[in-house]
Structures are given as structure tokens and as C-alpha cells.
């Protein structure tokens, strides 16, 4: 079951086309990474899902239904540009935002209590937002995003502005929300967090979707079928099927060589050959990192 599907979305602004025929499927209960360089159209897509703007063409389906105003209450959105009412008290502000999402004042109050205890921020309740540090404000905004227990949570660059400790705290929260059954779409440039958290990814470049699917499948797709081996001694000759790629010396006196094997060939055969020739310290497959996949697919370095 997909919680969200977009079919052939087109969004046209005066001079440029922000989204061009973008179709995505977001399975329920996963963490979905929405990747792409700056200006690719991620924010445009997120705004369409949040019904802030409408698509010029195409449909968005939420749990199989065409997106309608009611669905807004089942979505939580943390925009990239964070913002709160600066002169409003923390508690009041959260109550207000929760009520806008359709909670009653009492429901909101009950849920807020849990979060304030969990994050240990009880003393902030009567503080003005402007008196809090930036990281504290981010925490408040995160609470505002997930307070109404939405089925779909959309986080745009959720870790920016957090120190490592708080970033970790938020990461754990995201995983916990997933465990409770929420689906999370998160848009980011930070490939290490994609690596760590995402089950599914989609990559948008220049208004078009260039890649999507389960993370592992995509890694499989981008595999180069190369292996690296660290050893002492020398490999001068290998059977024809194995191709010796580059070699270099490691700092501690070993040699690292990359070897490509053809699809279908056995890795065991390679190891057997190597065992006869050199002393092996380590052996492994070169699995592409998300960073490498990103650069390959987009042709440029991700910028933060």
C-alpha cells in the first residue's frame, strides 16, 4: 500500500518548469529520501503534497484518494526555512499550531505534556520563542510538526541547525515515529543520513525524476562489480576473467588493489587465486555510497 502517489506532476512557473512529469510512489511505513541538488524542484513537490500550491498537471493520491483539504490534518510538515512567532510564548504557540491541525485544546495539551517531559523542556513553556536559542527553537518546531501524530511526516532538511547531540535525538525520534507506523519523507543533501535512515529514495534533477526505488535495489543497480583487496606480496598475473584495476600502497605497508570480476563469475574463484599469491589482510566488495550514486546520477557534487 502506498501512502502517497504522484502521477505525472507538472508545475510551471512564469519562466521555468519546476516539475516535469514527476511520478513517485511512497510506500506506507518507510522513510523516503527525496534527494536532488538545489533548485531541482524538491520544495515545489513538497509544497504540492502539502496543498500549499497546486500542480498544473497530474494528480496526487493520499492513501488512494485524490488529495483534498481534509488530508492536511494527517500530514506534518517541517519546512526548510524554520519560523515561529517570535513574540509568542512557547506553550501557547504549540497549542495554537496543534489546533490549526484540528486537535482540540485538551488533546493538544495532553500530547504536549508528553513531549515536554520527553525532551525535558518543561521550563520553556512560558518563555517567548525569541528568548530561546536556535537549536531550542528547532526542537519546538519539530514537536509542532509531529504533535498531531500525522500519518505522513515531511521533513525538509531536518538536521540543519542541530548540534550532533540534538541531531541524534531527532534521528532517534524519526526512527521511533517510523516504528509507530508513520511514513516519513525527508528531503536532504546529507547523504550520510540518507545512508543511515532511508529505505526508499527518489532523486530529482532539473525538474525531472532521474532515479527512484528501494535504497538497496538502487545500490545494486549502481554496483560496479569491483572488489578491493589489501595484501602483502605482489599479484602480477591473474586469470583472464579478472581485471586488475588501480593499485596503491596503504600507509601501513600493504597494497590495495581493485579488481573487477564479470557478472556471474564466482568471487570464491578470485579469492582462491589470490590465496596462492599473496598474504591477504582484507577483502571486500566495493558498494557504492549514496554520495557516489548521487554524483553519478546528477553529475555534480551535493552541496549543503
Amino acid at each position: 500500500m502506498n501512502i502517497l502517489e504522484t502521477h505525472h506532476i507538472v508545475k510551471q512557473y512564469a519562466q521555468h518548469r519546476a516539475l516535469d512529469d514527476v511520478s513517485l510512489n511512497v510506500p506506507r511505513g518507510c522513510i523516503f529520501g527525496l534527494l536532488g541538488p538545489n533548485g531541482a524542484g524538491k520544495t515545489s513537490l513538497i509544497r504540492i503534497i502539502n496543498q500549499i500550491t497546486g500542480p498544473d498537471e497530474g494528480d496526487v493520491l493520499f492513501l488512494g484518494e485524490r488529495l483534498k483539504p481534509d488530508h492536511i490534518r494527517r500530514i506534518g510538515y517541517l519546512p526548510e526555512e524554520r519560523g515561529l512567532y517570535k513574540k509568542m510564548k512557547v506553550g501557547e504557540q504549540l497549542l495554537y499550531l496543534a489546533q490549526l491541525k484540528g486537535l482540540s485544546e485538551k488533546q493538544a495539551m495532553d500530547k504536549l505534556k508528553t513531549w515536554f517531559i520527553k525532551f525535558d523542556i518543561k521550563t520553556w513553556w512560558n518563555k517567548n520563542v525569541e528568548d530561546l536559542s536556535k537549536g531550542m527553537q528547532q526542537k519546538i518546531q519539530f514537536v509542532a510538526t509531529v504533535l498531531h501524530e500525522p500519518d505522513l511526516i515531511i521533513l525538509d532538511e531536518p538536521f540543519s541547525g542541530f548540534d550532533p547531540i540534538n541531531a541524534n535525538l531527532i534521528k532517534d525520534e524519526i526512527l521511533e515515529l517510523k516504528q509507530k507506523g508513520s511514513t516519513i519523507i525527508f528531503s536532504t543533501h546529507r547523504m550520510e543520513s540518507v545512508e543511515e535512515l532511508c529505505d526508499h529514495i527518489a532523486l530529482i534533477n532539473r525538474s525531472k525524476k532521474v532515479l527512484d526505488g528501494p535504497k538497496l535495489a538502487i545500490k545494486e543497480q549502481f554496483k560496479t562489480h569491483t572488489y578491493h583487496v589489501d595484501y602483502q606480496g605482489s599479484i602480477d598475473q591473474l586469470p583472464e576473467q579478472f581485471v586488475l584495476l588501480d593499485s596503491k600502497l596503504t600507509e601501513d605497508g600493504y597494497t590495495r588493489t581493485n579488481i573487477r570480476i564479470p557478472v556471474g563469475a564466482s568471487v570464491n574463484d578470485l579469492i582462491r587465486v589470490l590465496l596462492d599469491k599473496v598474504t591477504i589482510r582484507s577483502f571486500g566488495e566495493n558498494i557504492p555510497s549514496m554520495n557516489e550514486i548521487f554524483i553519478k546520477a546528477v553529475g555534480e557534487v551535493p552541496t549543503t
Binding site: 500550491t53 497546486g54 492536511i72 500530514i75 519560523g83 513574540k87 495554537y96 499550531l97 490549526l100 509542532a144
Partner: protein, 439 residues
């Protein structure tokens, strides 16, 4: 609907809780009351006494020019030349010389003072001399002043408005004053609350909270909630002002009356001493506040208050929507200047027209200006206390409702695009394109 109310509630509470709101609401009527009280105080109490030395060469005016609590006339028996010589060293402020041949040459009076003579003193002395000459001439003709007094009839007109409801006593002065005050208050409030809406929208945009909010509710609901919330703040303020003013005016007349009586007594004593025992009757002064209350009570107050609230709301909705659109289109307050002026122009124009309408409330300028929604709130409020035909009022109100529905529609189109646009300051041309953007 519920979400609009939530926004309204927040906007309302945030403003009403502010210290500046509470201070303004209490201070404004106190200030205006204090101002009014001070004027009366200044009017009834003698501040600066002037001593005037009269050298009467004709011998006809001695003791005839009556002193008041501001002017004290005395008639020392000295020669004019000596008086003139000693004038600078004396404690007199003015030296008046009446020549012997005053009857033949009434223009011969000379006034001396160290730094020029005020118009009021000059007038006072001339009048007194004129009166005395008149008396003398009348007596010579065989008419006493008593006969003359009896011949004088005091004419005072009562204005009465005649319409279907029958005759009703009206007070033109009060009607004009009330109309003027209403127009002025509308002018100020449309400006103040309109720009408040604008500023608060720009603030939401720059603090980026707006994206969070409109992922929960429609931009139109946010805009409308805000506009209505600020409107309620205005209504609250008016209500408190009315209550406070009524409160002050019911307490005030008592105090004012006492003060007036006291001043009257002082004046009577002064007159007596100057007159040398001649009896003067002091008419018990009616408190000025009571007089105003009486004049105001001849007006159709429920109609005026009702219309005032209607035109406040209508005019405010019309203009605050436009101000709101500007607030959404720009990134920071500094950029609003160039756009705000075209919106303020009709408000200022309406207030200017109102000055003419005060003088000619039934002319064609008055008619058209009170029909066009952009000027009607201010101009119509000037006319209402003086009486406006029911159909004109209904038409003007109808057009105003259409007007603000129009501007709110217009504003909501600009608003929903503008709040998500950052960077370059848009032009009017771009904004007009936004009107036709899809969803």
C-alpha cells in the same frame, strides 16, 4: 470557519494583551478629557492681569470703563505729560490717553505700552469709549440707556429638522462636530489598523512561520482571520472609549459646574469693587459639559453609533485587505513605502473632501464621495449626523459591502502568491499577473 476563528482569536489576544493597547485605550480618552478640562480652566480663570492707566483729558470717562478680571483700569489725577514720563517706571502695562476733544475727534485716543498693545486691549478700550460717547449723545437726544435696552430684542434661532418623523429639534453645531469627529476617528483608525495588518503579514512572511501555517490552513483563511481579528481589536477599543467617555462625562459636569460657579463668584466680587458698590447679578453658569451633552442628545445617537460601526468595519475591511496584499507582496517593511502611498491617497483625499462636505453636506461632491466605497466611510459619516435620505444611506452601504468583497478577493489572489515569494521586490505589473495564477 473554525480555523478562521482560531486565527482571529490569536490575532485578537496578541494585540489586546499588549501593554501599548491598554495604555492607548485608557490614555486616549483621559488625554482628550484632560485637554478639554484644561481649556475650560483657562477660560474661566484669570491668568494674567493687565493694569491700564487712563488719562482722561475730556473728563467724561472717569470710572466709566469697567474693569474685568483681566483688565484693571485706574484713573490717576496726573497730567498726561507726567504720566508718559513716569510710565516706564510705573507698574502699569498700558497708558491710554483720551483727548479733550474726543467728542469731535473720536479717532484721537492714544495707547502707550512698552511692547505694543494687544488687539484685545485696544478693542476693550475702544468699545468702552464708544459706548460712553454713544450714551452721551443719546442723553443729549433725550433717550436714556434704559429705554434703549428695552428696545433691544434678543433673537436666537432654534434649528429644527423637518422630516417624515415629524419635527425634531436638532443642533447643527453638535451635528457638525460629531460628524467631524467621526470622520477624523475613521481616518486615523483606517490608517493605523490597515498598516497594522500589513506589518503583521510582512512579519509572518519574514519570520517564515507562514509556510507552517498555510500547510495547515488555506492562505485565505489566514488572511481573513487576521483582518477580522484586528477589526475586533478596533471595535474593542471603540467600545472601551465610549464607556470611558460616558463615564467621564457623567462625573465631569458636577466638577465643572462647581468650578464655573466659583469663577463666577470671583468675577462678581471684582466687578463690585470696581463699580464701587453697584450691584451685579451673577447668572448661574450652566456647566459647559452639560451643554454639550444636551446638544448631543438632540442627535439620533443610535443611528450615528450604528452607522459609525458599520462604516468603520466596511472601510477598514476595504483598506486593510489592500494593505494586507502589500504586506504579502514585499519581504520587509522598508519596501512597503512605495506601495502604501497609492493606497493612502484615497483615504487622505476622502478626509480632505470631508472638510468641504462639512460646509456643504448636500452638494454633488458630497453625494458622489459618499457613494464611492473608497471615500464613502469618511464622507458619509460627516453627513449622517446632519441627516441623509434613507435610500442614499442604503445605496452607500451596499456599495461599500461590494467594495470590500472586491478588495478582499483581489487581496487574497495577491496574498496567496506573495507570501511564498522571496527575493526581488515585485512591481505592480507582476502583482497584477498574480491575480490570474492558478491554485
Amino acid at each position: 470557519m473554525n480555523t478562521i476563528f482560531l486565527v482571529l482569536k490569536r490575532e485578537y489576544l496578541v494585540r489586546v494583551r499588549k501593554k501599548s493597547f491598554i495604555i492607548m485605550t485608557i490614555l486616549a480618552p483621559l488625554l482628550s478629557f484632560g485637554f478639554y478640562a484644561m481649556m475650560i480652566y483657562l477660560a474661566v480663570s484669570s491668568v494674567d492681569e493687565k493694569k491700564i492707566e487712563v488719562i482722561d483729558a475730556s473728563g467724561m470717562f472717569k470710572g466709566k470703563i469697567q474693569s474685568t478680571d483681566t483688565y484693571k483700569f485706574s484713573y490717576p489725577e496726573v497730567a498726561f505729560a507726567d504720566a508718559k514720563k513716569n510710565f516706564l517706571n510705573s507698574d502699569y502695562d498700558v497708558l491710554a490717553y483720551i483727548p479733550a476733544d474726543i467728542m469731535a475727534h473720536p479717532e484721537g485716543i492714544q495707547l502707550y505700552a512698552e511692547k505694543g498693545v494687544s488687539y484685545e486691549i485696544k478693542n476693550e478700550i475702544e468699545k468702552a469709549v464708544e459706548r460712553e460717547i454713544e450714551n452721551i449723545k443719546l442723553t443729549q437726544a433725550g433717550i436714556t440707556r434704559k429705554v434703549l435696552e428695552e428696545a433691544k430684542v434678543s433673537v436666537d434661532s432654534d434649528t429644527i429638522s423637518l422630516n417624515e418623523e415629524g419635527e425634531k429639534e436638532s443642533s447643527t453645531g453638535a451635528a457638525t462636530a460629531v460628524g467631524g469627529i467621526c470622520a477624523f476617528v475613521l481616518y486615523i483608525t483606517m490608517m493605523i489598523y490597515g498598516t497594522q495588518v500589513m506589518r503583521s503579514i510582512t512579519e509572518e512572511k519574514t519570520s517564515r512561520i507562514v509556510e507552517v501555517i498555510i500547510s495547515s490552513i488555506k492562505p485565505f483563511q489566514l488572511m481573513l482571520g487576521k483582518i477580522l481579528g484586528v477589526a475586533m481589536v478596533g471595535l474593542t477599543q471603540f467600545l472601551l472609549w465610549i464607556l470611558l467617555t460616558v463615564g467621564l462625562f457623567t462625573v465631569a459636569p458636577g466638577i465643572m459646574q462647581k468650578r464655573a460657579e466659583m469663577a463666577g463668584t470671583v468675577q462678581a466680587q471684582v466687578t463690585q469693587s470696581a463699580d464701587g458698590g453697584k450691584k451685579t447679578t451673577v447668572v448661574k453658569a450652566e456647566g459647559p459639559a452639560a451643554k454639550i451633552m444636551k446638544a448631543v442628545s438632540t442627535l439620533n445617537l443610535p443611528l450615528i453609533i450604528g452607522c459609525f460601526l458599520f462604516y468603520y468595519l466596511g472601510g477598514y475591511l476595504l483598506y486593510s485587505a489592500l494593505f494586507g496584499a502589500i504586506g504579502a507582496a514585499v519581504d520587509n517593511e522598508a519596501d512597503t513605502q512605495q506601495f502604501v502611498f497609492p493606497i493612502m491617497l484615497p483615504i487622505i483625499f476622502a478626509f480632505g473632501v470631508a472638510q468641504f462636505v462639512l460646509r456643504d453636506p448636500d452638494g454633488s461632491l458630497a453625494f458622489w464621495a459618499s457613494m464611492i466605497p473608497f471615500t464613502s466611510p469618511i464622507v458619509m459619516m460627516v453627513r449622517i449626523p446632519l441627516g441623509v435620505p434613507a435610500w442614499e444611506l442604503a445605496l452607500s452601504m451596499g456599495l461599500l459591502v461590494l467594495g470590500f468583497i472586491g478588495t478582499i478577493w483581489l487581496a487574497s489572489r495577491i496574498y496567496r502568491v506573495g507570501i511564498l515569494m522571496y527575493g526581488k521586490k515585485p512591481t505592480f505589473k507582476e502583482m497584477s499577473k498574480w491575480l490570474f495564477y492558478k491554485g
